[in-house]
Amino acid sequence: MARKRKKSKSDARPAKGGKKGRAPGDSEHSKEDAAEATPAVAKKKGRSKKTATRKKSSAAADVVAAAESTEELAALGRSDTPDAVTIVDLGAVEDLEVIDLEADQGLEVIRIDDEGDLEVFDLDEDLAADDAVAALLAETMAFVESEEGTAKPPVPPLREESPVVEAEEAQTIKAPRVPVGAELPAEPNPDLAVAMSEMRHAGLTGDLDDDAFDLGEVSGVEDRDRLLAAALAHAEMQEAIYRVPTSTGQTRRWKATIASLIFVLALFVAARPPGFVMPDPPARVSGADELYGIRVTLLIQSQQIEAFRARNLRLPNSMEEVAVQLPGVRLVRSSNRLYQLIAYTRRGEAVVYDSSTPGPEFEGIAREWVTTRGGS
């Protein structure tokens, strides 16, 4: 369906009364051509703003027919008279006008919107298809009904510099009210059924030719049905490919049970790994290693005190006077020449080094320890 937005006109002719009759056949527009013409949806190249030019109808456009319903309008469209219908009285709707705007003996539906602009719906090629006409009117009236109740703004005065539609020759017609979603008259077509079946089969098997239909050329019932069949077939194919089967309740329970069991097994293995995956346990500091380390520490610390005594010829009064202080060792002076060094194990047991009698364990270490075995 073609929609052409045109500048507003302030001097739209009021609707004239309809007069039944037929216009003389002086129109160049052939009814056969109109009958064969596809709906305007396919023929028109989308919506475009068309600057209306000043036109004058070559012939005076009078109300030559009146239609008070879509059926009558469709009947008029199927008339054999090529140029029988130029203007149709479609009833009383104030903001809907039907005129022969292009002076081509065709029919246009014009609606003045709130901004005062004209919206033109070209009917000249739709007259051959009764359902297209009904659909066109239904769409138009649906928009009109959505605007029902709103205040209609006044039509702005026509500006001289703006292109306007010369409407002196046109007659305005009021359109009847058409319910929204009016059903299209259906006429079963056996050939079409076969075509639909073939199209559906082609869509299912994936052999549908991309050139089988051209959206830009769809305008007839057959083409639309063919499109619909192809779309349905494509949808069925997609569903067949990507259908996700829903698992039953029993299957879900089994899977949940299996997953839970494996999780529990994983936790058990993490807590108590089996021997075949458990490598050699890492080394630990034993009690003997700890005691040996304490004794070596006391031995080394005593060396620092002896070095202090050798330099200063006296014992240090406290550990702070010693240059090297090993951690965890306490100095206790028992006399001017004797002292003890005390350290503790992790269990709190005291290990004592007496400078007067160090003990056999310290002597043994002193014999083996690398720093003392060559010394005293």
Binding site: I241, F263, L267, D289, Q303
Partner: protein
């Protein structure tokens, strides 16, 4: 493309749970091995850095005749800065290195000198003998501070108790001077 060529791909929540559980099971099996590998790598890293410090300290001793000055934990002594050129500290994620230096006193007999010949009863008693002479020398030590007991134990086992020992959260390695002596 024919629809038959592509089969439906269906993965339910139960399948995902089973796969996750199986992955968790495999992870539990592999975790001990992964931990051991990581620990062995840590021990190798520590040993490598200890060896680097020891080599650098031995080089300083050979050049200057003395061990580098002792430093605080994680501090790099100035004489050893060349060995750790890319680092500003000796602190690592799992351990900290420290260079230390001790003194050792050796009591040695005095140099042999001419002894007077006893004449008669004026000979001094046997209890009075020559005094031992204290000789002080330095020894170097590398200290590894770590809260990982296993790491300390591994280092003790690697180097032996004759040159290293563990005390609280430290492992100490005594550095021998080139030539076998500990210093002087």
């Amino acid at each position: 493309m024919s629809p038959r060529a592509i089969g439906p791909v269906s993965v339910t929540t139960g399948d995902v749970l089973i796969a996750l559980a199986f992955l968790a099971f495999l992870g539990a099996l592999a975790y001990p091995t992964v931990r051991v590998r990581a620990f062995r790598s840590l021990v190798e890293d520590v040993s490598s850095e200890v060896e680097t410090m020891r080599s650098a300290a031995a080089g300083v001793f050979s050049r200057d005749g003395r061990w580098p000055d002792a430093g605080a934990p994680s501090a790099i002594p100035s004489e050893l800065a060349g060995a750790f050129s890319g680092d500003s500290t000796l602190a690592r994620d799992a351990y900290t290195l420290q260079w230390s230096r001790w003194e050792v006193v050796d009591y040695l007999p005095p140099p042999r000198a001419s002894t007077p010949t006893p004449t008669d009863a004026d000979a001094p008693p046997d209890s009075v003998g020559p005094r031992l002479v204290a000789v002080i020398r330095d020894v170097g030590a590398i200290v590894v501070h770590s809260g990982n007991d296993a790491l300390l134990a591994a280092l003790l086992a690697r180097h032996g108790p004759a040159v290293s020992f563990v005390r609280d959260t430290t492992w100490t390695l005594t550095v021998e001077a080139p030539g076998g002596t500990s210093g002087g």
